[in-house]
């Protein structure tokens, strides 16, 4: 956390309201995001209890598992989820535009441009919190190795038809969420935390209700008692609203603002959910023991009532979170998008398209463990994207750039002098010397390269030294002499507009604006023995589904 963010947090503490941590929106937001608010059963590895999912904020689909330990009910939940998520994803997968990609020609070994399909847009998934992202990944892992009856008639507990496919998509989304700056799968707490500084610690920011309360304290809880909490009787401050969201309980000991999940509050589990599940179990046992049709009808009614009760419980715990996610989206949409957000979203579209292509090509699900080359590629991508994100956010947002200036990685100032000079080669090129006066304190080494944005492209300059004899006569503080070295055209005279002029206000960075790709890794078949050698035959065989036990989860 930079000192600037710290300062914003302290301001937030004093004012009782969150302060901006960004002046533009740094993540892409789809026009039709698919919001997913899941709940899980405590103690079980990824056994869903229920979820709200959908693209319409007023009409979410409610899914619930009345007995989370029952495999068939769980499969029914997953099948229903697949029935909502997959059509949404596939709608995006079907609409493509032509794009170019450079590939290595297998015969000549040269880089050539090939025409490929690129999905015109990609499906975006939004979950409430970071734990939600982990749950998406876990769901993906639990489903993608399942076999349907069609794939393998022998399989003991066949999965419903589309469930393995949903697992592959969720796995892809979960993996992509690990790439910095990607927007395919977003957590609302991360989004809000990126754009606002609350007056609490980052740990407490993981609570969606509390974080949102800092940003928009009177953001319509639809709860009248809510207003009376402030000491003056007026609108609550963010700090008060956050405390209330975090801790306040009703007379029965239930949290007024249920946690964003997927984990539920233990008090809810013990006092409300457990008795409801027990009633459901009893009703089911009674139905199974029914002796004639009339009795069965009655007991079916009881079972339906018990199920309805659990559905109502699930809805009561997910709906506040669902509304909070949409309120968060409203807040974020009010911010203008950063200039580079679209470019990063295009990378997400490429990622989406490539996964679509892998599925269309009939490739097997993602393996449990990546091979050495894939893993190295993923790591390299994350590192590159991290650097890209940091650079682009700084260029898009003066508030982020301020942080880089504070840490000496950038400086802004006024051009006080420009002297034309030329390189000493046979064909002299322009190498103008620019004097910039700045209040910042960049960590410049001799001949260090600095960059500024010129029509969206970086122009490079070289640090010559402190401008001791600057015309303004102030020999000491904060004047920097730079030599511009590129983007001035091919001629002897620089192209108009490519050389700064006296009086220009410029911002130079010490970091590069664009990231270069790293060295190419070998093909998986060429993996060196130091990294386990080529994958060979073992990897070619499809991975088996997980072993199952009696008290199995998923």
């Amino acid at each position: 956390m930079s000192l600037i963010t710290t300062l914003a947090r302290l301001e937030a503490v004093r004012s009782g309201h969150a302060q901006p941590a960004a002046t533009v929106r740094h993540r892409h937001l789809s026009d039709r995001p698919l919001v997913f608010v899941p709940l899980i059963t405590a103690g079980e590895a990824g056994a869903p209890l229920g979820a709200l999912v959908g693209t319409d904020r007023d009409a979410p689909h409610l899914l619930a598992v009345p007995q989370p330990r029952d495999r068939d009910l769980r499969f029914a939940f997953l099948a229903e989820l697949a029935g909502i998520v997959l059509p949404h994803v596939e709608a995006y997968a079907d609409s493509v535009e032509a794009a170019e990609r450079s590939e290595t020609d297998p015969e000549t070994g040269k880089r050539v441009k090939v025409e490929v399909d690129l999905c015109a847009d990609a499906a975006q998934l939004v979950v409430p919190s970071r734990a939600g992202i982990d749950f998406v990944r876990l769901l993906g892992r639990s489903m993608r190795f399942r076999r349907t009856a069609e794939q393998d008639p022998e399989t003991p507990h066949p999965a419903p038809p589309r469930v393995p496919l949903l697992g592959r998509w969720l796995t892809h989304y979960g993996e992509r969420a690990r790439v910095p700056g990607s927007s395919l799968l977003l957590a609302m707490t991360d989004l809000l935390g990126r754009h606002w500084a609350s007056g609490q610690s980052t740990l407490e920011d993981q609570h969606l209700g509390a974080l949102l309360a800092w940003i928009a304290p009177d953001g319509g809880h639809g709860d009248e008692g809510y207003r009376d909490d402030g000491p003056g009787g007026g609108a609550p401050t963010g700090a008060q609203a956050a405390r209330r969201a975090e801790l306040a309980r009703d007379a029965a000991g239930q949290l007024l603002c249920p946690p964003a999940g997927p984990a539920t509050d233990p008090a809810f589990d013990n006092k409300l959910l457990a008795p409801a599940i027990e009633r459901y179990d009893r009703a089911r046992t009674a139905l199974a023991a029914a002796e004639d049709g009339l009795e069965a009808d009655d007991r079916l009614g009881a079972l339906t009532a018990a199920e309805r009760e659990i559905r109502a419980l699930v809805e009561s715990r997910t709906r506040p979170t669902w509304d909070a996610v949409w309120r968060g989206l409203d807040l974020l949409r009010a911010l203008p998008a950063g200039a580079h957000v679209d470019e990063r979203w295009t990378r997400d579209r490429w990622s989406f398209t490539s996964h679509r292509d892998r599925i269309l090509a009939g490739e097997p699900p993602q393996p449990r463990r990546d091979d050495a080359v894939t893993a190295a590629n993923k790591l390299a991508t994350r590192e590159r994207e991290q650097a890209r994100l940091e650079a682009q956010e700084a260029l898009d947002d003066p508030l982020v750039m301020a942080g880089r200036r504070l840490s000496g990685e950038a400086f802004a100032g006024e051009v006080v002098d420009v002297v034309m000079a030329y390189s000493e080669s046979r064909r002299p090129s322009p190498r103008p010397l620019v004097t910039v006066r700045t209040d910042d304190r960049p960590h410049l080494a001799e001949r260090a390269k600095v960059y500024r944005a010129l029509n969206g492209k970086p122009q490079t300059a070289e640090y010559v030294g402190p401008a001791l004899s600057s015309p303004d006569g102030d020999p000491d503080d904060g004047t920097v002499l730079l030599r511009i070295t590129d983007k001035m055209g091919r001629g002897k005279e620089p192209e108009p507009g490519s050389v700064p002029e006296k009086g220009d206000l410029l911002c130079f960075t010490l970091f590069e604006h664009e990231q270069r790709g790293g060295a190419k890794l070998p093909d998986p078949e060429q993996t060196p023995w130091t990294h386990g050698g080529p994958p060979g035959e073992t990897a070619a065989a499809a991975e088996a589904a997980d072993a199952q036990t009696e008290e199995d989860v998923l």
Binding site: M1, S2, L3, I4, T6, L7, R9, L10, E11, V13, R14, S15, G16, H17, A18, Q19, P20, T23, V24, T41, A42, G43, E44, A45, R141, G199, Q200, S201, T202, L203, E204, P231, G232, G234, P236, T237, G238, A239, Q240, L247, T264, D265, P266, N270, L273, A274, R368, P398, L399, M401, A402, G403, L406, D546, Q548, T549, E550, E551, D552, V553
Partner: protein, 355 residues
Amino acid sequence: MDKAALASALGSPSAFGQSQFALVRGNAFEARVKADGGAELLRLVHEKLDRGAEPPADARVPDLSATGPEGRTARTALALREAAGAPGTWTLLDHPMLALDVAGSPAFLEPDAVVVHPDGSWTVVEIKSFPMLDGSADAAKVGAAARQAAVYVLALERVAARLDPAPRVRHRVLLVCPKDFSNLPTASAVDVRKQRAVTDRQLARLTRVEDIADALPEGVCFSPGLPAEELTAAVEAVPATYAPECLSACELAFHCRARSLADGAVTSLGRPVRAELGGLSTVEDVLAAARGEYGDPDDPAVAALRRAARLRTEAMATTGAGTTLAGTAEGARTGAAEGARTGATGVSEVRPGCR
């Protein structure tokens, strides 16, 4: 002392609780791991930690039941001594009881299991119900389990030191978790040398309980039956430094947090924040220093703050962003001072003491 009851009496009840689903599942898993005289558990210990030894068969599982924690501790020590007298066999201690001196008073610990190897060495076994997915588990949970096991290792070492020759307590503990999405146990050896060393050092440095008690004014009482004001004053007599990490560890954290916020301590935003701000420890001091009204401009922390404040103002001004927000913030500023109004202190500097 029941800190949860104390926290409730103070008006800031703790939010810790365990879902009965998790409890049932955890117990079922542990019972499964220890079924058949711990055959599966011993097989895992043999496979992961001691492949050189002969495979466990007819392991001894001594009965450790006794009345009271002292009795059980003595019973455990006796069982360990007996096991040391019978080399070449495997012994499984199911829920032994160990005592560890924490700040001058004994704390009783109950590991899930301790295994005595044929070579006489001891291994701590920790059974957890979070899954090990494709060979890896949640790092935070594994870390917590390792810290917990390290305390058991330390306690066992105290027991071992009283035997002659002293048996070796292995520094690799066995973490047993459900495999993937099943209920089948799988295990992994976890090296806890680092956690052991850290805990050992912390225990050695802990202020002794008597010293803390001596520093308290005469007649201080923490009984939850007392009125809240008296309790608050009593708790305030024990100094504590709240940090957000306390929220996941201590029942009194909410109380300390309210106290810390009322004091305007910057640590309530996180320890790194505090570290960044040098000698400035309250929100008002920092903001005043940033505005240039307070602090020594030659102090690097103050100078950096002023530059940060200037850069932030400049950046906000260039975009005009945040004006709307700043407007609403201004309007509500009056209420902010009372925002954190509750008052009192807690007891948290001494981490292991908080157990």
